[in-house]
């Protein structure tokens, strides 16, 4: 967590010459991908409706479904743990590692573990955790957080990655050419293969928890999740309570909208389904644990932002967000970025500290338009603004201005007086500045910082319209 606020981080990001082209590539790649996936699949809209209904039903039945999941997972040989918050989840994971003599763990990409800062906790316990998703591996080497939910290193160029590998991989011969993507992937693969073969435990997240059989479902494109979950002798999965669905049928519907919305693939390259633990003589981990993470989700379920729990973390809202396209993910300052982050981060990290996030939106509504489960993200952001206003968080000037506008608008003569004065003021300013207002000392002069303002040509419409009643 950085000490700067959103505006400063956004300012830094927008002045990062390398970031803008990366974000432009990201936007065009993902937007085109989704549009093409939708276009070649006529049932997509219908399937979105079904997925939206399934996810809402899953959240409505969440406590019961989680109990069914627990019973079925336990019966299949998995150990189920419940964590109320980040600290408890980290403590459970660390205890399981300690009890089993784990020194080195491999990890697949998991936002839940990002959310609870698991790697840092394990490091304090003397346990090394190595990310095996390529993007996550790169940002782990750089000590950064993911800047995009499905493409965590999207902010970096291949030159940045080469530089990172040169700094981190001491045995990399200086003469070896790693300028191209394939060479970078090969270099990472050598390191990661060694980690896969030597790790004592594998830590994953979960894309869905299927209640009827106690199954964990995971999707990936790199194949690293299969290896992370099954190569070491011990598997620990960490999943938010919201990942629950009732049945395989439900999971199938959600899967069919997930990759299409995320990357524009019809289906991710790998779908890994794990039930129970390996028996004597079977391949796979002998011990399998799942930590079910609440961390504010139950409270959210009881609030007017409950629909956010339907989110399947595809990232379509980021990919289509004009704010994200301008600032990138790090400006949001939390685990999640984009519209989903603007809804989730105030929940996880506090509204007062993150009051900018729900405000930094024009309510353009594109996120809601592309959300595979039709979450009304602008309305959820609006609810945060209402909470912030009720808590007196907006600056005093803004609150007074709104109060004055409300007061003026309640009696028409006051509104007319205000517009009359404003009209006169703007026309005088325009006259003074020779026809075009280039500087207007209102709201910090922010409107006219980058725009000219044409003063009104005459008095207000209402004052000139004849026969008003």
């Amino acid at each position: 967590m950085t000490a700067l606020d959103f505006k400063s981080r956004a300012h830094a990001a927008m002045n990062d010459a390398k970031l803008a082209p990366a974000l432009k590539r990201m936007k065009s790649h993902f937007q085109t991908g989704r549009a093409m996936a939708a276009a070649r699949f006529p049932e997509f809209e219908m399937l979105r409706d079904r997925a939206a209904a399934i996810r809402r039903r899953s959240i409505a039945l969440m406590p019961d479904l989680l109990e069914r999941f627990e019973a079925n997972a336990t019966a299949a040989g998995m150990q189920v743990h419940w964590a109320a918050d980040a600290a408890e989840a980290c403590a459970i994971a660390a205890r399981i590692c300690r009890d089993n003599g784990v020194r080195r763990a491999i990890k697949s990409k998991s936002m839940a573990t990002e959310e609870i800062h698991l790697n840092a906790h394990l490091a304090r316990e003397g346990i090394e955790a190595i990310e095996t998703d390529l993007g996550e591996y790169i940002i782990q080497l750089r000590g950064e957080r993911p800047s995009h939910i499905i493409a965590p290193a999207i902010h970096l160029s291949k030159e940045d990655v080469a530089e990172t590998f040169r700094a981190a991989h001491g045995d990399l011969p200086p003469g070896r050419d790693i300028a191209e993507r394939t060479a970078l992937v090969k270099e990472a693969r050598v390191k990661l293969r060694e980690a896969f073969l030597t790790a004592d435990a594998g830590i994953t997240g979960a894309n869905m928890l299927i209640a009827e059989t106690g199954t964990i479902l995971l999707v990936s494109n790199e194949g690293n999740i299969d290896l992370t979950a099954t190569a070491p002798r011990l598997h620990i999965a960490i999943a938010g309570l919201d990942k629950i669905v009732e049945s395989w049928d439900d999971a199938g519907i959600v899967l069919r909208v997930l990759a299409r919305s995320a990357t524009g693939q019809d289906m991710s390259s790998y779908v890994t389904c794990l039930t129970g633990a390996a028996a004597e003589g079977e391949a796979g981990p002998r011990q399998s644990h799942i930590i079910l993470l609440d961390n504010g989700r139950s409270a959210m379920r009881a609030s007017n932002k409950a629909e956010m729990l339907a989110c399947i973390r595809c990232g379509a809202c980021l990919n289509h967000c004009p704010i994200y396209a301008a600032t990138g993910g790090h400006a949001y300052g939390g685990t999640y970025s984009g519209p989903m982050g603007a809804v989730l981060t105030p929940l996880f990290d506090g509204l007062r500290e993150n009051a900018d996030l729900p405000n930094a939106s024009t309510f353009c509504g594109r996120c809601q338009e592309v959300c595979p489960v039709r979450i009304p993200l602008p309305m959820l952001l609006r609810h945060w603004r209402e909470d912030a206003f009720a808590a007196g968080i907006p600056p005093r000037g803004e609150r007074w201005g709104l109060g004055l506008w409300r007061w003026a608008g309640r009696a028409n003569w006051r509104y007319r007086l205000a517009t009359r004065a404003a009209s006169l003021g703007l026309r005088l300013t325009g006259w003074w500045q020779r026809g075009t207002i280039r500087r207007l000392p209102l709201a910090g002069g922010n409107f006219t910082a980058t725009r000219d303002m044409t003063p009104p040509s005459g008095a207000s419409f209402q004052s000139r319209w004849k026969g008003q009643r």
């Binding site: 004009p322 309510f363 594109r366 709104l402 922010n446 006219t448 044409t454 209402q462 008003q468």
Partner: protein, 241 residues
Amino acid sequence: MSQPEAALFVTCLADLMRPEVGFAAASLIQRAGFTVVVPRQGCCGQPNYNAGDKAGARDLAKAAIAALERFEIVVVPSGSCGGMIAKHYPHLFEADDPWRPRAERLASRTLELTQFLARHPLPDGPKAPAGKIAYHDSCSARRELGVLAEPRALIAAHTDAEIVPIADAESCCGFGGTFCVKYPEISARMASEKTAAIAATGAGMLVAADLGCLLNLGGTLKRQGSPIAIKHIAELLAGEP
């Protein structure tokens, strides 16, 4: 037989910043066969609503409802303010609030200008000269109200304009009400990307149905020294110079 009445809700921005839009809208409503009434009116309450001040928005909405509810049709030359009334007003009041049915009735009678003109067509007349224009859809018209075909059909029917498509047309222009002064740097970035896309069309004029977008984009274009003029669709259709 007397003509039916339609109320014009002119919006604060048109009322104050560009009164010509109000007069043009009134003349179009008249030409569509209605008697225009302009009841005394203020703001729809969107600035308060978008800032999280729901109680303030409710107060302003009540004033607007009281002013407009006696009319069968209310016309708004803005997707943003039109969407506020037609889509958001009912949500301002609890289900058992006596204002709820009044808000719902007004919502069902409120039309954005191009929606209104699509339902109540203008008589055929000489086509206004316009040349090559770029048409920008406001996010509220496009996504809240689903208005996309109406303005294009009106422009094709009543002007000689050639509408050239703007690349990445679905992206927001960065106005967003108070967003443009709260987050000026992000807003300016969004606006300049939009004006670059507009300039690339080769159009001589930018037309939109929302003054918020037009003041943002027109102001940015002018600051950039661009010769591209802006016009509200009401002014274009009314044949104003």
